[in-house]
Symmetry: C2
Amino acid sequence: METTTQPAATPDSAPYESTDRTVPTRARERAAYDRALVHAILDESYVCHLGFVRDGTPVVLPTLFGRVGERLYVHGSTGSRPLRMAGAVPAEETDPGLPVCLTVTHVDGLVLARSAFHHSINYRSVVVHGVARPVTDPEEKRTALDALVDHVVPGRAADSRPANPKELAATAVLYLDLAEVSAKMRTGGPNDEPEDMDLPFWSGVVPLRKGYDPVVPSEDLAPGIEVPDYLIEL
Amino acid sequence: METTTQPAATPDSAPYESTDRTVPTRARERAAYDRALVHAILDESYVCHLGFVRDGTPVVLPTLFGRVGERLYVHGSTGSRPLRMAGAVPAEETDPGLPVCLTVTHVDGLVLARSAFHHSINYRSVVVHGVARPVTDPEEKRTALDALVDHVVPGRAADSRPANPKELAATAVLYLDLAEVSAKMRTGGPNDEPEDMDLPFWSGVVPLRKGYDPVVPSEDLAPGIEVPDYLIEL
């Protein structure tokens, strides 16, 4: 049985160590290993894209996730394929642990160069390589589920009904430690060739804006229940 | 050499055939195989998450993509790993063709239930399984590169300098046909348990809004070049 002891706390100032898998073959100057940057990119994204291998071929699924320090959590039904493959369901004859790649991407802007070749996007991404393993400690499972809810709306876990024993039993949680991690980002304007500068094409950046529309209360919401502050502050 | 003949046109009304890989084990009612829906979800997203297997472990990278009918294109430097692995660089001793999973996800809203367990997000996603292969026909390569630029900003390819021979040679393009494809989506409010209805927690949906901030022209943009209509119409 794998231990689920959390990794020792590492100061935010210590960067992640690069590995062969986290050093890109191209555009190395865009790669970063700064912990605070990685955490910020992860925390700002509602979903990650979780990649794993099934029958020798890749599978990439969007899923919610949570972060507690240097540990990420994903969850799912005990009937879901990646959870079963990771050994989260003891009855399954699978190895404990599922090699995964967890990726998060923000698109920040569209970069329009004078040449088609130099078109790009401004983005921030994080790629995490590792082995996802089931959380077996009940206390850590509760902590993980709170982190998953608070990842969507900070402060929400404490303002909702916690999972009951039946729900806990139906939910499998995997953890993935932030060890082999890199961020990658592009900012700024287009990088046109000097000889293209006089071409008659507009060039620049279209920044993307993210925001929220007014909340839609449930139709059966009891009168008198106000929109909570943590939503107003979003 | 693999042919790069495009697949026969299929009417939008004919859904994608489901396969073992495209029928989810959970929440099957959220799966859809409608071509027009799949196309719309793909076309609205600036990036996809491309998964492939390297040394037996999964890799998931964000990348731009384009669509022409039932064919997707991704591109990259001839030096990039997935492109080399797909056989896009003839000098590499790799098999032509790279098994991939290409996934696109839109997060449309945050779903806050009274119970932590029923928290969710409203989303639309498309998952494409298949084998990516290099585009070898020069005409199709140009078409693909135009599609990649027009995917970011419709109409832009015709209003920029096309790739020159040197740029074309430095760019590898892979194609992936839309054959084994599924969409998945969640809409609507939270699905709370009947016994939770009277709990004193706000419930409902926080819709996410996507938009654009004012464009930022390049600092060296020649005076007199106006913002093009296709950006104003974004």
